[in-house]
Amino acid sequence: MTSVPTLPARRRTMRWRDRDALYGYLFSAPAVLGSLAFVIAPLIAVVWYSLHEWNVLANTFTFIGGENYTRMLTDAALHDSLWASLWFSLGVLVLNMTLALALAVLLNQHLPGTTLFRVLFFSPVVVSLVAWTIVWGFLLQADNGVNAFLAALGVTGPNWLRGSVTAMIAVVVVQVFKNVGLNMVLFLAALQGVPEDIGEAARLDGAGAWRRFTSITLPMISPTMLLVGILTLVGSLETFALIDVLTDGGPGTSTTVLVFYLYRQAFEFNQFGYASAIAVLLFVIVLALTLLQWQTRKKWVFHES
């Protein structure tokens, strides 16, 4: 007799638990469905497309297996674009992080006017990328802007966007100037989180400014450096609009980075299947580099070892 009243109670508990679970599923459903529809499904679709020859004009969609992937091995233009991507990303990563950190350190000083400079350096981040790039296009013309300034100093500037090396330098610098403000703010926040007493103690022990910076500040902000490094690298590998507006991948193929080459294959050459295979390659590269940075963090990021 004693067991009779407990059974309904247990059933009620189970029902509540089910209801909790139901609420949980319902609340997470929009995010999960959104992610499935707009992230996972396109990803699967791209892999599927990459196994086909898809000619939009002729309206043909033919399964060709791994042919698009084997084509990559012999596509010299793709190899050129991988090199261009390497130089571009390396340039952006090194220049952006160095400049952002230097600016953050400078603007972390308690000097009058630092707020104004923080605003100035951050403002390009909120400017439309295309507008920013078009203005730089004018500034980098043969006889205008930058070169007019150099001429005033008695220096003859190169025709920036017409030389392979100078065009690459130009796109790296324009990209870095656009985004360095964001990384600067992240570094600034990290620098302000470094306890002053540690530096003070080191100073009393006789450590100079450089030693305190390399032995205390840098390790303390290393988690932010990891974050900034990953974001900057991924961002640089996905740079498209800047190249499209400023150089159109030229001169020659010197600034045809992987994303731009992908765009060209898909939307100019109508080779959606091959472009999808390149998209898969880009995905793998970004994933691999991010994992590599994540895995090596234990060696250099404070709190991670």
Binding site: I40, I44, N59, D143, W160, R162, E268
Partner: protein, 430 residues
């Protein structure tokens, strides 16, 4: 497990949907199933000019009023010029196919041969009062193959030389119209006048408009005078390395870097702002003249091989995979009939022999006098179209990349021409 199952279910759904969209076969290009009721038609265009769009809509509204059972509306969708073909093909890829579309001449062979466009010649010929035989055969060539006509070349705009006569007079040079009258209007004289005006007045000399050291096909107006062409007529053999082309490219390179007659890469120069001596462009650009300086037009200068003339064309095609190719073809027959072609000729030189007269062009082009319109009519007759190829997008990109090496002070036309051919020969034969 439930979660994993739902993921795979959704993914299969998406894939199934996509495949269904992709797998729909090419529709019959001559007849479409009779629709249940009147249909909505959509035409993609690259003009955003209110005058153009207003006239199109007027013609379309009249058609809708006369054919309420067949068409309920016609929409003209503007896609920006720069991204036009890219956006159009993206619409095709996404299954959002327009019923009719403007097509650039450079893309014509690809669109015609791929099966993207429906055959329209039959419909045009069968339409009462269309006067199909009035269409200029040479204008239709690019848009036809053995099976028929795949687009109507509504615009046949010749390239001519616009001249800033104020600048030339100020620099004490002979006016090109006088040189032309005396049979001495050559590329060398154009170069010398340009270089002299730059030396005297600054600004820019001769500008091949829209070339900008990237859109190389605009140089067709130059190399034609040397008898050069980028590839053989059948499109299979590169001819960039022909002696004629090398001479033409060398002439251009020297005019830029030795004589200073043509502004170099990375230099902004616009004829219509008044600081440029002369520019090669199409007559449709005359609308940009604001009367701030005196100007004239003359035919393209002659070179060692005379001057065959060049026109830029644009066609209107019916998309084979559109929902209503039949209704779209009937509307196109109305849109381009003699009466409407005459109206359209105020903006676009039509491919109709009867309308290519100075009298009919004068109605729509008040900016030009009779002598100038004669130049326009003569320039259309027998002119070659700009380069086009069945694999144009890839050939274009490869050519542009290889030609970049020429646009430096030390660029060597012969060496670069060989590089261009090495880059595009495999693409031409694709």
């Amino acid at each position: 497990m439930v979660h994993r199952r739902s993921v795979s279910a959704l993914a299969s759904l998406v894939l199934a949907g996509t495949l269904a969209a992709c797998g729909s076969g090419t529709s019959d290009t001559s007849e479409d199933a009779t629709p249940d009721g009147p249909v909505d038609l959509r035409m993609t265009v690259w003009t955003a000019d209110e005058g153009h769009l207003g006239l199109f809509q007027e013609i379309a509204d009249a058609y809708v009023a006369d054919h309420p059972d067949e068409v309920s509306s016609v929409t003209f969708e503007t896609i920006p010029f720069e991204d036009y073909t890219t956006t159009l093909t993206t619409q095709l890829a996404g299954g959002n196919t327009p019923d009719l579309a403007w097509v650039f001449e450079s893309n014509a062979p690809e669109f015609v041969s791929s099966g993207a466009l429906a055959e329209i010649g039959g419909t045009l010929e069968a339409t009462d009062g269309y006067e199909y035989e009035d269409l200029l055969g040479s204008a239709l060539d690019l848009w036809s193959n053995d099976d028929g006509l795949y687009a109507y070349p509504f615009s046949n705009s010749p390239f001519v030389m616009f001249v800033n006569t104020d600048r030339i007079a100020e620099a004490g040079q002979t006016q090109p119209s006088e040189l032309h009258a005396g049979g001495e209007w050559t590329y060398d004289s154009a170069r010398d006048i340009s270089a002299a005006t730059v030396e005297d007045l600054g600004g820019a000399g001769l500008v091949v408009r829209d070339f900008d050291y990237t859109a190389w096909s605009n140089l067709a107006s130059v190399w034609g005078a040397w008898g050069a062409q980028p590839w053989s007529a059948d499109g299979t053999t590169c001819e960039f390395d022909s002696p004629e082309m090398v001479d033409a490219l060398s002439w251009f390179h020297d005019a830029v870097y030795t004589q200073g007659a043509i502004p170099g890469p990375g230099t902004a120069a616009d004829f219509f702002s008044g600081d440029t001596t002369m520019t090669i462009t199409q007559i449709s650009r005359a609308s940009a003249l604001d009367g701030s300086f005196e100007w004239d037009i003359v035919p393209l200068p002659t070179g060692p091989a005379g001057q065959p003339g060049v026109i830029g064309q644009a066609g209107i095609g019916v998309l084979a995979n559109g929902e209503n190719p039949g209704a779209a073809a009937n509307f196109l027959a109305h849109f381009t009939n003699p009466e409407n072609a005459s109206q359209l000729s105020q903006y676009f030189p039509p491919p109709r022999t009867s309308l290519l007269t100075t009298e009919s062009l004068a109605e729509g082009n008040p900016a030009f006098d009779e002598r100038q319109l004669e130049i326009v009519v003569e320039a259309i007759d027998g002119a070659a179209t700009k380069p086009s190829h069945v694999n144009y997008a890839q050939v274009d990109t490869a050519t542009r990349s290889a030609l970049d090496a020429l646009w430096t002070e030390t660029g060597d036309a012969a060496a670069v021409a060989t590089e261009v051919c090495a880059a595009i020969d495999p693409l031409l034969q694709d």
